[in-house]
């Protein structure tokens, strides 16, 4: 009897301790260990000169680890005054609570609140404070380009791109943060908290190895942070608009600036309802990245595209004058189409037509190209596409790729005469500033245009190429040069002491305000007698005049960049107009 009883016990102990021991070992670990993510710092983002655009500072996250719902709620209620928890917030947190998992209460608690909590630790059972890197953005000038991070959304969690991401992670939402999310993110590590039977945190665990994770990759961008800040400073305060500056040498992006801008730091750790309300109710929509998302009628700045296409097709010679001189307009198909100058420009060759922005010349150019070839070539250059910049959310250009476009959009078959509108940058044509900058970059190069890129080590993406001669390019540039030359419309506003700046103005008619067109200036600048070293495209919404509103911004942007590049001290008095107004002598000015 005794032997049987003791034997039965021995057998049972043998089963539990020897045969099933590994099961129970595992359970004893999970019993007492609570996994916690270790947040690896996100990669630092630098500009082309090594200035920091985005980095990390120590931040504090607060967790609560309790075994039951009631005790969790109790602790949350005690934390209420310290962490500004609302009833809704507490309720939503309670819904997120999962047994045996620390509940993340707040990812961004400031140091003073943390010190209070630390002092009264006994009063908050199950409270765990974790140091976690917090994203910091340097300045709002570059806000649209860098973007921002915030907690991953439910939708994102379900998308294949974020299949390996976990709830509560901070992910890039827009901009570079989004584009290079996977490289910047790094890998989260894991650490174990040891708790006792009552859920009291005993400490960080010794024994099981903790995984520190992998910090995100640092990224170096081609942006010039000082240049962007300079643009932010000179851009008119009250008007929305955009500036794109490219380096024609390799298509790298020197500056992207969208006005109005915002402080991306407000998104870190969750945007407050007040800030969200403020930013959303702003009629100028500060979150819109106008450089890549804004679509504007390109107006006269597109005349260079028409000219480029004509030269590429060989339908016009660089010095050839059109048969019909401009006397203020042109009859076509029983319809009279006027030039902007009622008295007319007379007979013009390409350069003169660009400088004068003569519609009559470009009508005839359009007729020579023909509608079908215009659509084909315009599409080839990508006016109906994205330019391929490494930013998310880039808009597709609006440009008809075939005649059916009119039927789809407007419900009628296009007549051949549509080409006349297209040739002067009107008709169904809307482009992003970055797309226009890419086109002008081709003219600053040899007719080819790679996709603009922001990441420094990005492999160049082949763009498109206009098959035009150097002589033709010279004539196109000559046309733009006359815009800023004496007697040119932008001469007074855009001429620079040290640099040869050439460009094309444009006035984009829009539905917002028919009296006040969007002001364009698409330009390039470089040393005298050299190739352009910077392409700058500026659009100021409702800026009325490309020459007086947009051109000075482009000129000052180019001047700032080139002066720094060539070691000439930067001066706030840059353009001819500024010199005259400041009473400075201008021996360099040409009149």
């Amino acid at each position: 009897m005794i032997v049987i009883v003791i034997g039965v016990l021995l057998v049972q102990f043998f089963r539990v301790q020897v045969l099933r021991s590994s099961d129970y070992k595992l359970r004893s670990e999970s019993n007492r260990l609570r996994p916690l993510s270790v947040h690896a710092p996100r990669g630092t983002v630098f500009d082309r000169y090594g200035n920091v655009i985005a980095d990390n500072v120590p931040g504090y996250a607060v967790y609560v680890l309790r075994e039951s719902k009631e005790s969790t709620r109790e602790v949350l209620n005690k934390l209420r005054p310290h962490l500004e928890l609302s009833d809704e917030k507490i309720n939503s947190l309670m819904e997120n609570m999962r047994r045996h998992q620390p509940l993340l209460v707040d990812t961004d608690v400031d140091f003073s609140a943390i010190s209070v909590l630390e002092e009264q630790r006994e009063y908050f059972p199950g409270l765990y404070i974790e140091m976690r890197p917090k994203r910091r953005y340097h300045g709002e000038a570059v806000a649209h380009t860098i973007g921002y991070v915030s907690e991953i959304s439910a939708e994102e969690l379900n998308s294949p791109r974020f299949a390996e991401y976990k709830q509560g992670l901070l992910v890039g939402k827009v901009g570079i943060e989004r584009q290079y999310e996977e490289r910047l993110q790094g890998r989260q590590g894991i650490r174990y908290l040891e708790v006792d039977a009552n859920g009291r945190i005993v400490g960080s665990l010794s024994g099981i190895e903790e995984d520190p994770g992998q910090p995100g990759e640092d990224l170096r961008l081609t942006l010039d942070l000082s240049l962007i800040e300079w643009i932010h400073q000179i851009f008119p305060d009250s008007l929305p608009g955009a500036v794109v500056a490219l380096d024609p040498a390799d298509g790298s992006v020197l500056a992207l600036y969208s006005a109005p801008t915002f402080d991306p730091n407000i998104f870190v750790g969750g945007i407050s309802p007040e800030s969200w309300e403020a930013i959303n109710s702003d009629p100028h929509n500060p979150l819109l990245n106008r450089t890549v998302m804004g679509l504007y009628p390109p107006a006269s700045t597109w005349k260079l595209a028409a000219a480029g296409i004509a030269l590429d097709l060989g339908v016009v010679g660089p010095h050839e004058e059109m048969p019909i001189p401009c006397n203020g307009g042109l009859s076509y198909g029983g319809e009279y189409r006027s030039c902007w100058l009622p008295s007319g420009h007379g007979s013009l060759a390409l350069a003169g037509a660009i400088a004068q922005s003569c519609n009559v010349y470009f009508y005839q150019l359009g007729m020579r190209i023909g509608l079908d070839r215009m659509l084909e070539s315009g599409t080839k250059i990508g006016f109906a596409e994205q330019c391929g910049i490494d930013l998310p959310q880039e808009s597709f250009g609006i440009f008809p790729s075939e005649r059916a476009f009119w039927e789809r959009r407007f419900g009628y078959r296009p007549l051949e005469g549509e080409v006349l509108s297209l040739a002067i940058g009107q008709g169904p044509n809307s482009q992003t500033p970055v797309k226009m900058a890419q086109f002008y970059m081709a003219l600053a190069r040899n007719g080819s245009a790679p996709a603009p890129h922001i990441l420094d080590d990005r492999d160049p993406v082949e763009g498109w190429r206009l098959n035009i001669s150097n002589e033709s390019i010279d004539q196109l540039r000559e046309g733009m040069r006359q815009v800023t030359a004496p007697d040119g419309t932008a001469h007074y506003w855009a001429s620079l002491e040290h640099w040869d700046i050439i460009g094309k103005t444009g006035s984009g008619q829009n539905v917002q305000d028919p009296e006040r067109p969007h002001a364009w200036f698409s330009s390039m600048a470089g040393p005298w007698d050299g190739d352009p070293e910077i392409v700058v495209v500026v659009i100021v919404e409702l800026g009325i005049s490309g020459a007086t509103m947009a051109a000075p911004i482009a000129a000052k942007t180019a001047d700032f960049y080139l002066r720094r590049k060539y070691g000439i001290p930067v001066d706030t008095i840059q353009t001819l107009a500024e010199h005259i107004e400041a009473g400075r002598p201008t021996p360099w000015a040409r009149w």
Binding site: M1, I6, L9, F13, R27, E67, V202
Partner: protein
């Protein structure tokens, strides 16, 4: 005088040394049970209090050894009566202890609190032995079992009223083993116990029905050795057990119901009543063959194991010393019980042998129920492990029992 004490000590030195080692081992484990990550003043100092009780126990053991077995035989009924009075008193003014604070099992004497049911176990053994020793023949009929059943039944009933199921089980062990030594046929004893088994099995009608069939079948095979009335009584008792099970179930305290339910399936309530069993099994299982090392049990340290210095001390042994520790401890117990059988066999008078078998029955039930519950074989009943669990009265009473056996050996 000293010679006599020495002789008592050396009477069955193997038993005394084994029991002493077991007590010291117990104190070591109680010490370990107090080593927690979040210190608890109650369990931390428990080993010191247990050590003092050990000293008292050794002294009392020696004194008991000086008392003739005849005196115990003479005093059996008065002591029995005293213990019944104490049990009654407990029901009136008793207090709980620790987590079992809803249970009235202690009498608070100011400095120390005292558990009359432990005392009652010993006196019941004595009374039962006294009664059976005076019978001219072995209790081979059912009728002969009635008086012994009543002797045990009264304190058992009082203990159930506390309510303390574990100790009640120990009383049944005492009855069974004493009657067995008195010569009652095993079959008869089985019939005697059958209503109790029927009561437990009635949680499931089919199992109960099956058991009832077995009882009927056995009765048929046994028909020539039982009176018809007796057979009828057994049948009726079994039927009654099945019928009253439900109202009896309802009369149980909720925590007792839970303990039984959870024993049947620990995962029913993993955070509530099943918690004890699960955590204890996790602790023991995670100890593996060699254990996590003395005082290094993580389950124990983090307070996952409930009542770890008292009822669940064996799970601390399992976690920290592994299968080697639990196996060795069980073999030690086996040896101690084996020594009791040997002493009983050698005893020259019926009273001594019966007392020793009563003690054996009580300890065996304690060991089986206590150790069994830590690995989920037996419902959690809150019954201590002899010599190892923390608890002054129980240690003292166990050592008094050792004293009596030592005296029995000495008198041989």
């Amino acid at each position: 005088m000293f010679r006599k004490i020495f002789a008592i000590w050396a009477g069955d030195s193997a038993l005394v040394i084994s029991v002493m080692l077991m007590t010291i081992f117990g104190i070591a484990m109680i010490y370990s049970a107090g080593v927690l990550n979040v210190p608890n003043p109650v369990t931390e100092g428990a080993w010191i209090r247990q050590s003092s009780w050990f000293v008292i126990s050794i002294v009392v053991f020696t004194l008991v050894g000086c008392i003739s077995v005849r005196w115990f035989e003479w005093a059996a009924f008065p002591l029995y009566g005293l213990s019944l009075i104490l049990l009654f008193t407990t029901l009136l003014i008793g207090t709980g202890s620790g987590t079992a604070s809803g249970v009235k099992s202690f009498i608070d004497l100011g400095i120390i609190s005292f558990q009359p049911s432990e005392f009652a176990k010993l006196t019941t053994i004595l009374a039962l032995a006294r009664y059976l020793a005076t019978r001219p023949e072995s209790p081979s009929t059912f009728r002969a079992l009635i008086t012994p059943s009543i002797i045990v039944g009264i304190p058992l009933g009082l203990v159930i009223l506390q309510p303390d199921l574990g100790t009640a089980l120990a009383f049944m062990g005492i009855l069974f083993f004493t009657l067995y030594w008195a010569g009652a046929p095993i079959g008869l004893l089985a019939f005697l116990m059958s209503p109790a088994v029927a009561l437990v099995l009635s949680y499931n009608n089919r199992i109960w029905a099956l058991f009832f069939m077995i009882v009927l079948g056995s009765l048929y095979l046994y028909r020539y050795r039982l009176f018809l009335v007796e057979s009828l009584a057994i049948v009726i008792a079994n039927l009654a057990a099945g019928i009253i099970a439900s109202p009896l179930w309802d009369s149980l305290a909720e925590y007792q119901q839970n303990r039984i339910l959870v024993f049947l399936d620990p995962s029913v309530d993993p955070r509530g009543a099943g918690y004890h069993i699960i955590q204890s099994m996790v602790a023991i299982g995670s100890g593996g063959v060699r254990g996590k090392g003395f005082t290094d049990g993580t389950q124990k340290k983090l307070d996952f194991v409930p009542e770890q210095h008292t009822d669940f001390i064996f799970s601390v042994i399992g976690e920290e010393l592994g299968f080697l520790g639990t196996g060795l401890a069980l073999l030690f117990f086996c040896f101690i019980l084996y020594r009791l059988v040997k002493i009983a066999e050698k005893s020259t008078d019926p009273f001594s042998g019966l007392v020793i078998f009563g003690i054996l029955g009580s300890w065996l039930i304690h060991i089986f129920v206590n150790v069994g519950m830590t690995v989920g074989m037996v419902p959690v009943t809150g019954i201590p492990l002899p010599f190892v669990s923390y608890g002054g009265t129980f240690l003292l009473m166990s050592w008094i029992a050792v004293g009596i056996t030592a005296r029995v050996t000495y008198e041989e």
